[in-house]
Amino acid sequence: MSIMRIKGIDRGEPITIQVDGKEITAFAGESIAAAMMASGLRTTQMTKQGGSPRGYFCGMGACFDCIATVDGVDNVRTCNTPVHPGCEVETG
């Protein structure tokens, strides 16, 4: 499945972030969830109880389903956390 950045939008120069050790392309101002999605990565965490895969859900910071470990900090909401060059995301 290829999720796409909507056509015709100028996004500036690409930057690189790492998700589980793999490099993906992102653009300044994008949220981590958005950049991941645009690279086809929709799972942001495996739940601690039951190991069920979760991803972007409410999009407004209310559900806490899209959390991941970002730059070593646990439980960061990827829907409202912007990317920065060299940002490291672990989906656990």
Partner: protein
């Protein structure tokens, strides 16, 4: 006050920079008041007028673009010397004694004391669970809209949009305009109910016009609107690969042999909205049951002041009303709060009050477009988790209701529902429907979960910074179950 916490002072603090909060801030500042407007997001605009977060100027296609432009125009009014805008800042609590707001943002804890506080905290989406609804690729319709509005990203390729209410059709049109394929819209109501309810909007030509334009676009794109259909299952092991829908009869039961199977990657769901009332509730503001939308909301008088002096509630948190109500209530509350502080505004208060009562009255009918019978809880199989955070299933909840649970708070100690990371924002309204239906109770008698601080999970540091003199910080495995602190003040 702990040394690590900065104490700030303002005249009017406004919580939430959506349409209501922004319009309140502008009106109050123009009257001469010193205003602090706080929002958890990177930009003002709220969910409705969500602005693109990209570094480059962003022109979105179709309806998304028009809406963003309207929002940008409103937001430009915030460029006023009397307004301090704090973005990326969460108001996670309010002191019950002197009503200072507890803020956390950009790694800093602050407390804000204001002469007047206006709650404009908006709404959450109401949902109903189904098999597979926790899979990545299932998202709220609002979440899909936000991915497009703020990020310029289409959150999938082939979509199914399911639930109830006019938002489904709008979301589907926006997905199409952004380049997506929409396989179908599954609308819980019958076509007759939906159209009958829509005629109640007679006179609100903008809303009716928008609705008709959406239907026309969907028809032209060959997107079927399947009335009296529900989603019963998301297919896929690790993420969404398909969906199953069924037709339901007039009593809300699945019609045998009516299954449709879809191959698709993304499912968007929405069953209406719920007021975000955590902060006014903690501050002791009386809540009331709003039968039009089937939700609890914050009670106010005609000045939009809550039952606690000096605290106001506007927009969705005093009852779902949509953007037009939010904008007028913002102006009215901004004006009255400023007047109470001795400022004189160049605003026609009488006209504003008239506009306001008209807007609120017409919205009562809008509620019908989102209302649904709690009987559809029967469609949720026992093994489906209702509480996404703690994995509590429909079967466990039903068992507890049979054993006598008649309030949401009764379910907490038994199952930890409402005690996970979302603190009941997702499961609360679903559990409310379950209790009403299974126990046969009057909807107004089933109250929401008790709101507690911090209203959203925070880093421990934030709360530790925030210990008032003589207060004790207790480390509780309470919010989120992963060690978030709660301060006993």
């Amino acid at each position: 006050m702990n040394a690590k916490t900065t104490l700030k002072q303002t005249e009017i603090a406004i919580v939430g920079a959506g349409p209501a909060g922004v319009s309140a801030a502008i009106t109050a500042a123009q009257a001469g008041a010193k205003v602090t407007l706080i929002d958890e997001n990177a930009n003002p605009g709220g969910q409705y007028f969500k602005q693109p977060t990209l570094d480059q100027p962003t022109q979105l296609p179709g309806n998304l673009g028009t809406n963003a432009d309207k929002g940008a125009e409103l937001i430009s009014g915030l460029e006023h010397p009397g307004i301090e805008l704090l973005t990326n800042t969460m108001v996670w609590g309010i002191s019950e004694e002197d009503h200072h707001l507890k803020l956390y943002g950009r790694g800093e804890s602050e407390s804000l004391k204001a002469d007047r506080i206006i709650f404009a905290s908006g709404a959450y989406e109401r949902l109903m669970p189904f098999q597979g609804w926790t899979l990545p690729g299932v998202m709220t319709a609002g979440g899909a809209q936000l991915m497009m509005k703020s990020q310029g990203i289409l959150p999938g390729q082939k979509f199914l949009v399911a639930g109830t209410g006019p938002l489904l059709q709008l979301a589907a049109v926006q997905l199409l305009e952004a380049g997506g394929e929409v396989e179908a819209i599954l609308e819980l109501q019958s076509k007759k109910e939906f159209l009958l309810n829509a005629t109640k909007l007679w006179g609100q030509w903008d809303k009716l016009g928008q609705g008709l334009a959406n239907q026309k676009k969907l028809k032209a794109s060959g997107v079927p609107i399947k009335y009296r259909h529900v989603i019963t299952r998301a297919l896929g092991d690790r993420e969404v690969e398909g969906a199953v829908s069924s037709k339901i009869d007039s009593r809300g039961r699945i019609c045998p042999r009516s299954e449709d199977v879809y191959e698709l990657d993304t499912i968007c769901i929405s069953y209406g909205f719920l007021p975000a009332t955590e902060l006014p509730t903690i501050a002791g503001c009386e809540q009331f049951y709003d039968p039009a939308f089937g939700t609890y909301a914050t009670k106010t008088n005609s000045d939009l002041e809550t039952t606690v002096e000096g605290l106001f509630a506007i927009g969705e948190c005093r009852g779902i009303g949509g953007v037009s109500v939010a904008l007028i209530e913002g102006q009215l509350a901004g004006l009255i709060a400023a007047q109470q502080l001795g400022y004189d505004a160049d605003q026609d208060e009488t006209a504003l009050r008239k506009q306001h009562s008209k807007a609120r009255k017409s919205i009562e009918n809008l509620g019908r477009l989102f209302s649904f019978d709690p009987g559809i809880c029967d469609l949720v199989p026992d093994d489906v988790p209702i509480c996404r955070c703690e994995g509590v299933t429909a079967g466990e909840v039903r068992e507890s209701i049979r054993r006598g649970a008649s309030q949401l708070n009764h379910l907490k100690p038994w199952h930890r529902t409402g005690m996970g990371r979302c603190q009941g924002r997702m499961c609360g309204p679903i559990l409310q429907k379950f209790i009403i239906h299974e126990a046969g109770l009057e909807p107004s008698t089933v109250e929401p979960f008790t709101a507690r601080m911090p209203i959203k999970p925070l880093p421990m540091k934030a709360v530790a910074d925030y210990t008032t003199e003589g207060g004790e910080t207790t480390w509780e495995d309470h919010v989120g179950g992963y060690g978030v602190a709660r301060t006993e003040l």
